[in-house]
Subunit: 300 residues, 2 copies
Amino acid sequence: MIYNMDTLYEAVAAKGPVCVGLDTVADYIPPAERRKAASEAGAILAFNLALIDGTADAAACYKVQIACYEALGLAGLETYAKTLRCIRERGIPVIADIKRGDIADMALRYAAAHFSGDFEADFVTLSPYMGMDSIEPWLSWADKAGKGAFVLMRTSNRGMRDFEYQELKSGGRLYDAVGTKLAELAAGRSGVHGYGVFGAVIGCTEREEAAAIRKKGRNLFFLIPGYGAQGGAAEDAALLLCDGNGGVVNASRSLLRAWMPAAAEEDPDRVNNVRAAEAARRALIEMRDAIRAAAGPAKT
Amino acid sequence: MIYNMDTLYEAVAAKGPVCVGLDTVADYIPPAERRKAASEAGAILAFNLALIDGTADAAACYKVQIACYEALGLAGLETYAKTLRCIRERGIPVIADIKRGDIADMALRYAAAHFSGDFEADFVTLSPYMGMDSIEPWLSWADKAGKGAFVLMRTSNRGMRDFEYQELKSGGRLYDAVGTKLAELAAGRSGVHGYGVFGAVIGCTEREEAAAIRKKGRNLFFLIPGYGAQGGAAEDAALLLCDGNGGVVNASRSLLRAWMPAAAEEDPDRVNNVRAAEAARRALIEMRDAIRAAAGPAKT
């Protein structure tokens, strides 16, 4: 079995650690393209396809945030399905950012939903609140189809201090307890590059803890949000990598809206999706190079 | 503003505390009906509509588990949307069991998804792992449209011991910390019956803690899973109510599959959806009466 986590590792080695987050909403789309589209869901699909086309050579993977698509109902989810399909047809790994978490039999239903059929992705994100019996059922898809997951451990929002940061009587914080369970999972099910087939979500917003988290979660591949708009810098992200690999750093707004500053100086109506994608690619390359400079070149 | 939580309270006073869980999967549908349907999603829709028709007079509300529908892709979500619409058209409260939880701007997208449009429900379930900034954005819909939510606090699965049960250095368990935050929310935003417009999910599987949880969460309306198939009894559920109100007790499998034992003694092919719904109604009434007997009559 070739695990998707190995494919992702190899993509990072070849293309750098940037994950392009397709948290696409109407406001991010050039106005001329919005007017041209028959519907909001249609406008988002056209924008996504152009973005993928323009960034495929430099993106390690894509992450598609389902909330943006669910918000538009059935039409939005059709766009979601088509976006995933377009990425997978190019052989690029795609992470479904769904943050699901439910009891075991429902976990299996959700896994069928997001690892096969209309919404098939290569990876999902999961929420651990209900415990490991809400996570483990998803693992059956690792051996069946190579699928992987990233479990929320320490996120990049301010509210993470409410519960994730709670200190436990048994030592460490709640997110450490989640990390320990995930490292156990990883020890039991790893790919050829030494990383567990399930990894963890670690925001790059808290520099002082990064080295300890990386050391403790040596065998965990990280999905790293919080870069750019949320405050994380290249140096913060680099601390969560390991020889430039072992993680992907997500950026969404800073890439999708990269066309805006230049457009503000001329007629924004002249910007189309292709130009937006070119601007996203330039921003992606800049981000990748900044992380590479901070982390050193990726080990191959 | 009439809050949905008040409407739900009044439904419990009038009809008892049973929430019918439409976690419908193909295996629960009489074989003759499954064969008749053009698709799995179509079979589930027909079953749901019959079930709703047969139980509407005795159900306080319905809970629809989206995992069962997501598993069937776009067609499944169309059935999900139609099921919600059928319940809302009857003026009965419906809970979307979605357990979403994401950063603030995504919480707003999810809220738009599940409080308006194709997937509009009266209540949702939410997961608190990421903190209160993943919960609070949903609250804007309480004042805008009366909407409510139930936040996972202590669930009914075995895995809840992994994290929800972790003892905190500051005292209490993780689920207590969640409860404290929810009680604060409830204190700030309550309906006419004294319950917060957002409540909590509390499984009825741990009898020894029930009285303390009920006492501490005096102003929290509870969504109570774990009855029946998961091991909770009427007495356990009753301990989480308050004068027979202040909570709804969910049952799914035990109602949806209620037609099976009788069918096993004759030709199961003779059972149709209407008979399945009649069996579900009988099981519902029995459950309601058992909880009422244990809790005393509902205060009106």
